[in-house]
């Protein structure tokens, strides 16, 4: 799985490498800017897509987030992680997008729902049972509120601390924790309802890792 991440360019930059690229991009180095996009685009898109569940909107949000980040590189303080900043911008853009939706009809990406777009390698490696449980977890993630979903994704996918999540979502740390904990509670309930035997969970964890 990790090897696959690296192949798809999802390997995370170290703090130091990120800092260097940001300072070169600030000086106008196009190649560094390109590397920053390459290093973050898949994770940023996955995050935006999970929040919006619409490919086109998520892609627009990603593009806009990069352009905004680059246009204000001058005001970006190197104390922060560029990646955290990028997710902050993307999250706000997602919220704007959701607000805009209220006034018009929109479509979710049912065609791209996890259960109907399985990865070939996953299909081979995991049992039907594990797949069913994974689907259940993702369905439960979709049921979470936007803030809970964002908190869960940033925590597990981006390895952000509760403080960093609070910063990215623009909420107090206690609220960020409460979103994360409530989200866990709901995911647990939803999965526990399907699990009859602890060995199923063991199989699921093995399939996931």
């Amino acid at each position: 799985m990790f090897a696959r991440q690296a192949e798809s360019g999802e390997a995370k930059l170290t703090r130091r490498a990120e800092k260097k690229l940001v300072s070169q991009a600030r000086e106008g180095c196009e190649e560094s800017a390109r590397l920053l996009v390459e290093a973050h685009k898949d994770r940023l898109f996955a995050f935006s897509w999970r929040i919006l569940r619409n490919h086109h909107e998520a892609e627009e949000v990603c593009q806009d987030a990069f352009l905004r980040a680059f246009s204000s590189l001058d005001s970006f303080s190197s104390e922060y992680r560029f990646s955290t900043w990028l997710f902050t911008i993307a999250y706000r853009l997602c919220l704007n997008q959701i607000r805009r939706r209220k006034s018009k009809t929109y479509e979710l990406d049912y065609a791209a729902m996890p259960s109907s777009e399985p990865d070939v390698s996953d299909q081979v490696a995991e049992s039907e049972e594990a797949r069913r449980l994974k689907d259940q977890i993702w369905a439960a993630v979709d049921e979470l509120s936007v803030q809970q979903r964002a908190a869960v994704l940033l925590f597990y996918r981006e390895d952000m601390s509760c403080e960093a999540i609070a910063g990215a979502l623009g909420i107090p740390v206690a609220t960020a924790k409460s979103h994360l904990h409530r989200a866990r509670g709901r995911l647990r309930e939803s999965l526990a309802a399907m699990v009859k035997d602890p060995s199923q969970i063991q199989a699921l964890r093995e399939a996931a890792s």
Partner: protein
């Protein structure tokens, strides 16, 4: 030994990696001998594993990066905006000051035409050539606050000009261009508009000249653009205006205000 209830209260802190070592050891000890709590924890951890590792989102098109880079090139905001932003931040409070001056200059002659005694337009004009120090200081402080730390650092590196003289330098052509109206003669709004535009153009020229002089190697001339047409016929019937007297600088205004451009 902790109870099941207590153990479950610790789950979230454990998963957040915020449990002190002593409690973590207690929790582990409890999990080892309680299969129910163990199953609960396994479910929570499994959820985390799946979210962390299971990547089934659709993928971005391979051309995404190229598209972002091309859009960025089409609008190179980061480098092009710096100068623009500085002028904007520094000049906007002054634009406000300038419009107050112009408003007084435009309406004062009209106020003076009825029988009620009014403030003498010339007095107002000379007071307003340089806005009162507290106003000027507040405006400049506001401008300074809205700058980012990087812009402030940039300002500090650039050759400094005191805030007062910069204000005068921007306002002088405006005032001078419209000064002929304060000698008691009334002008039509159309004439006034032409004069204001002329003043704006002079300001633009002066700004460009100043920039060329300071940064000849830049080969770049900022321009506020030209908005007016030739106003010499309007100027002709009036005696040449005396150059606007810059007011004495307000000493406190120079300490904490940026030295722009």
């Amino acid at each position: 030994m902790i109870t099941c209830l207590h153990a479950r209260q610790l789950f979230d802190r454990h998963l957040d990696d915020e449990l002190p070592p002593s409690l973590r050891a207690e929790l582990h000890a409890h999990l080892l001998q309680c299969s129910e709590c163990q199953a609960e924890m396994a479910i929570l951890e499994a959820c985390g594993d799946v979210i962390r590792l299971d990547r089934r989102e659709p993928k971005l098109a391979a051309s995404f990066t190229d598209r972002v880079m091309a859009t960025r090139r089409a609008a190179p905001v980061a480098s092009g905006r710096r100068w623009h932003r500085l002028v904007y931040y520094v000049a906007s409070p002054m634009a406000a000051a300038a419009s107050i001056v112009l408003a007084f200059l435009m309406f004062s002659p009209m106020l003076g035409t009825d029988d009620t005694p009014s403030v003498k337009p010339t007095a107002i004009a000379s007071e307003m050539i340089a806005p009162p120090a507290p106003f000027r200081q507040a405006a400049m402080q506001r401008a300074h606050r809205s700058l980012t730390p990087l812009e402030k650092a940039e300002l500090e590196r650039t050759p400094t000009m005191s805030a007062t003289s910069f204000l005068d330098y921007l306002l002088a052509p405006v005032v001078e261009g419209t000064k002929n109206t304060v000698d008691g003669t009334r002008r039509s709004a159309k004439d006034m508009e032409a004069l204001i535009m002329f003043a704006f153009d002079s300001m633009s020229d002066q700004l460009a000249a100043e920039f060329r002089e300071r940064y000849p190697e830049d080969g770049f001339t900022p321009s506020l653009g030209k908005v007016g047409s030739d106003v010499s016929p309007l100027m002709a019937p009036f005696p040449a205006a005396a150059p606007a007297q810059p007011s004495p600088p307000a000493p406190q205004a120079e300490d904490d205000t940026p030295g722009p451009i």
